[in-house]
Symmetry: C4
Subunit: 273 residues, 4 copies
């Protein structure tokens, strides 16, 4: 890293970090550019706007692409390990933000490229990570991570119920009510158990309606389970962080282990909460 010249270091500070005012200004401008470019892609997909402002949006797209290309090159240049950056998750997202426009020069514009363009929005999370939101993300991530096994078991149960009830509805209602196959019936069961309820497929027979009502009440009640799991885990996560931030009431020493009962310096009893 000592080989890097001062320009590289300076650029790294501005582009990758968040500590200087230039770094923060860069982040804010980048967020605005990303949002504007995604808005342009979305606007371009609307037939009437595309018909009227198609040319302006085309110019705008190239402007964003050139700006993001310059940014990408600067990132490669200033990064202490360009190869590592290029292969990282955010490096690939950065590349995917500029590639579609160049590809569209060779191949005719396709709908597929539009979706890749939308993935630019993922770049926002890198900036969020830099900003003060990192702890908030960390708490949520940690709570979900420590409860994912319980959520997986819950999902397996829900999907099994959905599969069995969907198959029963395929038997009870049949094709005339729209339950033309088991996958479609299972799709209906998921629409019902999650309380989405499109109404594109609905039971017509009293027996089918009774089974549907059972599934609705089940879904209505089962929603309590992930709520309970996440609430408990968030509470534990908060308590864990509170314990780690405890201060000794006697000598004001902090940095005690989570399960410490006494101050590691003066032996005074620590608060339990």
């Amino acid at each position: 890293m000592s080989k890097r010249n001062s320009l590289q270091k300076r650029l790294y500070q501005i582009i990758f970090e968040h500590d200087t005012w230039e770094g923060r200004a860069f982040d804010v401008i980048l967020i605005l550019l990303i949002l504007a470019s995604v808005a342009a892609v979305m606007a371009d997909s609307m037939a009437d706007i595309s018909a009227r402002f198609g040319y302006h949006l085309y110019v705008l797209e190239w402007l964003f692409t050139i700006l993001f290309t310059i940014e990408y090159i600067l990132r490669l240049y200033s990064s202490p390990n360009a190869g590592y950056y290029a292969r990282s998750f955010y490096g690939l997202i950065d590349l995917m933000a500029i590639l579609p426009t160049y590809v569209s020069l060779i191949f005719p514009e396709s709908r597929f490229l539009i979706v890749i363009r939308v993935l630019r929005v993922l770049r926002i999370f890198r900036i969020l990570k830099l900003m003060e939101y990192v702890e908030e993300i960390e708490v949520l991530r940690s709570a979900i991570q420590s409860s994912w096994r319980r959520i997986l078991v819950f999902l397996t149960i829900v999907l099994t119920v959905v599969l069995i009830v969907g198959s029963l509805m395929y038997l009870i209602e049949g094709p005339q009510a729209g339950y033309t196959s088991i996958p479609r019936s299972v799709y209906w069961a998921i629409v019902t158990v999650t309380t989405v309820g499109y109404g594109d497929i609905t039971p017509l027979t009293p027996l089918g309606q009774a089974l549907a009502a059972f599934l609705m009440i089940l879904g209505y009640g089962l929603i309590a389970v992930p709520s309970g799991i996440v609430t408990i885990e968030l509470g534990k996560e908060k308590q864990r962080r509170r314990r780690l931030n405890r201060v000794c009431p006697n000598c004001n020493q902090h940095g005690h282990d989570q399960d410490a009962r006494f101050c590691k310096l003066c032996g005074a009893e620590l608060e339990s909460a």
Copy 2:
């Protein structure tokens, strides 16, 4: 404030405060007038009622407007700082409650004025603030305030998912299923992930239905996250208030700091909860 005469002070007590029985009576009458005037605006928007009772509702509207105008003038008159009141949030709401009717004398009645009239309902919150509900509002507000950053991160994640899944559906289903543009597909994705499920746009292909099912289950599970966040914050807020209301078990002194461990008067240990 010493320059104000006794009539101004008396009116201030009745109109702005809630401590005397006249003040409370004024508040109850005002709430009833506000609700009645909003009900009249709503009734007037219904074609059949407007055709039959249009004249009566017109008279009623002017009656409410005159009453609210008198109230507004009295508020300006009795307020210790009329300019400050006129520019305050509730002052502007009060003005907006009377302005549309006068404007409709000059310009022909428009639908836009109806909506401004409905904003009268916001005046109820001033009265709620006066009444005993202030602590309840405070607890809710405080719990939401201390969790808004976590909720913002949660919302950013949900909106990113919705944007990506919406774009994918635009690619998979296309215009024939109603996914005519990315904004419309994102609208569908929000309808789905929040489990609203209008059914005005629904996936038709098996692949689209599978992606929709994934989005539903995600929305069904993700609802646990704000639940967990708000529950934890409400619990903390309640505990904070309980700690502030602690009484020393030895000398019955109250008013201890939230983080106090010993009574500030006699030194006896306080309960922790």
Copy 3:
């Protein structure tokens, strides 16, 4: 009460109480009769079943009515205070369970009487109160009672949002999209914010869809608030009951006050949780 003969006392034990096996048997039979009679009313409202089994259901209805009439007379007879029973909530429900059938002899059968018949189902709650479920009901009732003010404030906020957004949609979308009046637009807003989403009225313009999306996300997030409130109150209610059931670790004395810190008999410190 000493004037009541032994038959009255015996009947009271069986009909009103739940301590003897006859009392419990009476309750079980009564629950089955109530459910059967409600099922008969429901079946009779279905056109095809009514056409085929109308006569049987008519006979069955009279059988239930006569049985419930006998029960009502026995309740009046065995009750220590017949007048008090007759005017009580459950006394009126009992009367409403038999009256419609007799009224239908004089006036032709009307749909209104059917709904009154369905109210028979409320009689089940008296039996639930007798059975061991009383504490469960009590915990739920107590948690809801101590949180109703916070829920009222929450509801006022939601209804205000719904009123304003509904009026805005009336302005934005107008009659061609089904928003024909403010009450109907408010109905749509309630359908949306509660995540029900019938889809009978849906926004058609991009601006309307954006506002609808905002309302959906608000409703999706706001559901966390009642969840949080009820969870906290249920937790407090449980803790209160646990504190009331504390046993002194020294002398095994129970029945300590909720806020007691020391045993009222031997002075030993009680557990806090």
Copy 4:
């Protein structure tokens, strides 16, 4: 059990247990086979896939059936008590996984047999029980078990509300809006209160819409009750397990009773949480 030969014991280890690597490999292969066979049944129910790949799916179905038959015979052979296994819940599920294909040789293939085939998916839970997910299932099961009475009371209240509101809507809206019978109106009320909202039946009159709006807000608020119940129970269950895993701070002895306050070996005070 001593009479069983070493082959039986070896097979039992592989098929019924999860401790050896062969046992774990067997479980993973079995899960994949079950999922593949259920996927084949689902694919076969889709008209276009069945038309094109019907023969391949038929062969595949027989392949799965033969494999599951061999597995069933091996389970019977290696089980220490074959009769007990055959009559157990999972024994019957195993039998139902192979029976439909053989029955279809005698009787023509019916839709009913398809649903029985889908029940194969239940076999996954035996394997989950074997794997490390057993504690997760146990926590969920235990939390639901200790709250089922409160949930039952809650369900009774919800179903009573749904029955009464459904009957009122039958009275208010009548057949022209789709409320053709009380059971159908109750079905609508369940669709509404659980916030599913198909939109296949919707109120048309202002009074009906007002009652529907009330039911929606009730359902939106009531969802907090099961959330609260399950959260509290999950929290208690976690605490109970934490108490059982407590270690004495003095002598490191573990295995203390849930309600123990002092170490059973050295008498040191245990932590309360």
